[in-house]
Amino acid sequence: MKLIYEKSQAGRRASAVPRHDELPRPEVPEELRRSELPRLPEVPEFELVRHFTELSTRNFGVDTGFYPLGSCTMKYNPRINERLAALPGFARLHPLQEEDGAQGALELMWRLQEILAEVTGLDAVSLQPAAGSQGELTGLLLVRAYFAARGEAEQRRKVVIPDTAHGTNPASVTMAGYELTPVRTDARGNIDVDDLRGKVDEHTAALMLTNPSTLGLFDENIEEIERIFNGAGALMYYDGANLNAVCGISRPGDMGFDIVHINLHKTFSQPHGGGGPGGGPVAVRGILEPFLPVPAIVRREEGGFGLDFDRPQTIGKVRGFAGPFGVFVRSYAYIRMWGPRLREMSEAAVLNANYVLARLKGAYDLPFDRLCTHEFVLSAKTLKREHGCTALDVAKRLMDYGFHPPTIYFPLIVPEALMVEPTETEAKETLDAFCDAMLAIAREAAEEPELLKEAPHHRPVRRLDEVRAVKRPVVKYGFGEHPVTKGEAKAVVTEAPQGV
């Protein structure tokens, strides 16, 4: 379809802006004045609405259908959340409003902090980080500040990360100025404790761990891991990407973790918006509270709620104001609709995942044959060896059956990985239809592999040439000089992590 810029005609417009021709207008000094207007689209309002509506029909969300993208927790996003976040008392509230004019907002944030402390089993919460990866960076800066205050900053330079970790973990380690110590996974899918023992010492600052892991497995040795880190005087960081598996069942604080980030856009239903916004609050043990970002949201002794900037040991700020407030409104409303029944949410997520796993494990390779938690990882290794069909081919063929594919090629330790997370949202009929499709695709791979290799057949576009996009980057519309849009048919899709 055309770009909005290709529908533009000079002289059309959708807006009417207030004008005050009766008032004098100061001249902008010539050297600062705009010389040429930007070529924004010129379309009437109905054309605008049609364009973006058409774009939406070329997109697939949880509202469209089943979206088992592993590690992303694509659950239903209740519509009441949207209505609440749009209330003028929230949407039009300025973040620099005086405290007495923002009591409702501050109370909501304080209440959300209390809830997250209870769910994670920790003592204090900062809502500020804008997403999980910013929560990670915040957590590692807290680790730095903690050891600096103890005079161990120079000594403790290493952060331990298992080979199953999300890519954000090592990237955050670099951004926080730490060195990476990788640790292996054992034959049962747990951290290899023997490998770990040899790598944790007085130079270790922290562990970063997702539990359950990205394999969808709860680490059976978590207590031993805690003893190793505790013994070395190092801290433990919990990547909360998989918190949807354990709400009310097992708390990171009780597992021994000192810092947790929570993905509000995963476990607590902030819609993902095609790539954001998210929310990545961090919860910490009391010893780390003095270092949390400013401002802290506090309950005042004299009554009411406020913002506390007086935290001399703070790491500073990672984002503007007190965090992405609209995300808090949605997640707060969502959690209040569950209350203590959050446990049922996690149980249903784990039941759904195990059911799909049970139905599929005969047709695909299962690298770790255990019960899973809220997600599991299969491999298309045999399909590839015997029929030349890869995880990518399976993913593309699923689209023809009307499903969003699972995460593929992640975690990195599983070849031809297919990482499936159904979430608690789905009905058994949906799960069955998905399983039927996956089983049919495994048969097709044997009988008619071209069906997979040429898939998808019924989407707005066929497979796209990613190599061309990299070699000759076209990252904006070129107007008169825009490159020709038709070309030689080719598809070079890289087999790299897609999802997470």
Binding site: R13, P38, H94, F218, P277, G316, P324, R341
Partner: protein, 449 residues
């Protein structure tokens, strides 16, 4: 009672457990060691129905003094610009609202094309060659720029002007500590940055970050400032207001290497601080150092045009510890709000909006002087939509007194700047009218001095 967000019936559960081969849901958790199992119920208030949660949360919203309840001249980085209904309507399309990051392009052409169009809009406004798909907000993108500059120049220091938003400065400092960068601030003189100081500080700096219009609302001598930074070998980084770019020059045109800022004024509600989008655009030479998602155009196997996430070898999921950033989830939906808004506005609307802000702010400056006797602090400097005035007593007290009269008169600059306890920063957007400006002047005449 089955929870409204769950779908499994009792018989579904039984059948599923049978298929799995376990007797109970509890058994599914047998790998969780006894010692770390949570032994009680979560201590949370009982579950609410939708109707109950609406009543409760709406009551919290009622307790806030938002811009529909107070006549607001508060800005300082977040602005009360009008957000048209088309923005709400498009952002509530479930296909866009409830999708993940577009890893599978065949399922996500809608979002991918929208991001491509957004990147184009940001490049048109800033004059730059490449824009990413968005960053968290106007503070974190400034930190991202430091990382680009560090690697592009090999230098270990960044300069930020004191007249840059204090929150931007704070976030840059926090991130810079992790990057191993030193931060240095350059003072202002009479409301604009001291150019000689910039030149001195830039000598061994990776970047010079400045804001246009600056935090006091004044227009910096941007072309000269950029030239001094660039001559010293530092990357000039302009933190700009998108809505000023119909009347103010595009940063690339006066030599900035990177342009970035807070997208909120263009298409997002203030929402007590977020979520919003940060935009980040740069000259072509930095394309492979950019943080975050970038969408590119390509062809499919039928030879038709399509869009994909591109240059992904910069990113964490491929490059891990060698990535240019750890960012994954960004602010796509808010950036889409920005694109819809800028499309609504169009080039003429953008220029007119800028002109209206210029006129109304100048009018407010004049009325505060005439009716309330308040002098602008930096009388010699041209401004855009915001300006600083002396109110003759502690500005926080003035704010409190004015609010009792239903007017929020602006931001007390003493909250961030020493020696400015009696200075108020007044923002005037196109939503304000000359009559409302008179009301501000009358209230300030009463409570100031």
């Amino acid at each position: 009672m089955t929870h409204p967000f769950l779908a499994l019936t009792e018989s579904d559960r039984e059948e599923m457990l049978r298929t799995i081969g376990v007797a109970s849901v509890g058994e599914l958790f047998r790998d969780v060691p006894e010692g770390v199992r949570f032994g009680r119920e979560l201590d949370l208030e009982p579950a609410l129905s939708e109707q109950e949660v609406y009543a409760h949360v709406a009551e919290l919203a009622e307790r806030n003094a938002d811009a529909s309840r107070e006549l607001s001249f508060l800005g300082a980085g977040m602005y009360d610009h009008y957000v048209p209904a088309v923005v709400d309507a498009i952002l509530q399309r479930g296909e866009l609202l409830t999708a993940y990051t577009p890893y599978q392009p065949e399922m996500s052409q809608g979002v991918l094309q929208a991001i491509f169009e957004y990147q184009t809009a940001i490049c048109e406004l800033t004059g730059m060659d490449v824009s990413n798909a968005s960053g968290y907000d106007g503070t974190s993108v400034a930190a991202d720029a430091c990382y680009i500059a560090k690697h592009a120049t090999g230098r270990g220091k960044v300069v930020v002007t004191e007249a840059t938003n204090p929150q931007v400065r704070q976030v840059v400092k926090t991130y810079a500590a992790g990057f191993g960068l030193e931060t240095v601030e350059v003072q202002h003189r009479d409301g604009v940055t001291d150019l000689d100081e910039v030149e001195r500080a830039a000598a061994d700096a990776a970047a010079v970050i400045f804001q246009q219009p600056n935090f006091f609302g004044c227009l910096e001598p941007a072309p000269e400032l950029v030239a001094r930074a660039a001559d010293a070998g530092a990357l000039p980084v302009a933190h700009v207001d998108l809505l000023s770019l119909g009347v103010l020059e595009a940063p690339a045109r006066y030599g900035a290497a990177i342009a970035l800022g807070e997208g909120q004024p263009a298409g997002n509600f203030p929402s007590f601080g977020g979520p919003h989008y940060g935009f980040l655009a740069a000259r072509e030479e930095f394309i492979r150092r950019m943080p975050g998602r970038i969408v590119g155009e390509t062809l499919d196997t039928a030879g038709e045009r399509g869009y994909v996430l591109t240059l992904q070898t910069r990113e964490q999921h491929i490059r891990r510890e060698k990535a240019t950033s750890n960012i994954t989830t960004n602010q796509t939906l808010l950036a889409l709000g920005g694109l819809v808004y800028l499309t609504w506005l169009g080039p003429q609307g953008l220029r007119e909006l800028g002109e209206t802000c210029l006129s109304l702010a100048a009018h407010a400056k004049q009325r505060l002087e005439e009716r309330a006797g308040l002098e602008p602090v930096f009388a010699d400097q041209p401004t855009f939509k915001e300006f600083a005035v002396r109110v003759g007593r502690n500005a926080r007290e003035v704010v409190a007194a004015a609010r009792e009269r239903g007017v929020h008169p602006g931001y007390a600059l003493g909250r961030d700047y020493e020696g400015m306890d009696d200075v108020l920063l007044v923002a005037v957007t196109e939503r304000r009218t000359p009559e409302e400006i008179d009301r501000l002047a009358d209230v300030l005449a009463e409570v100031a001095r």
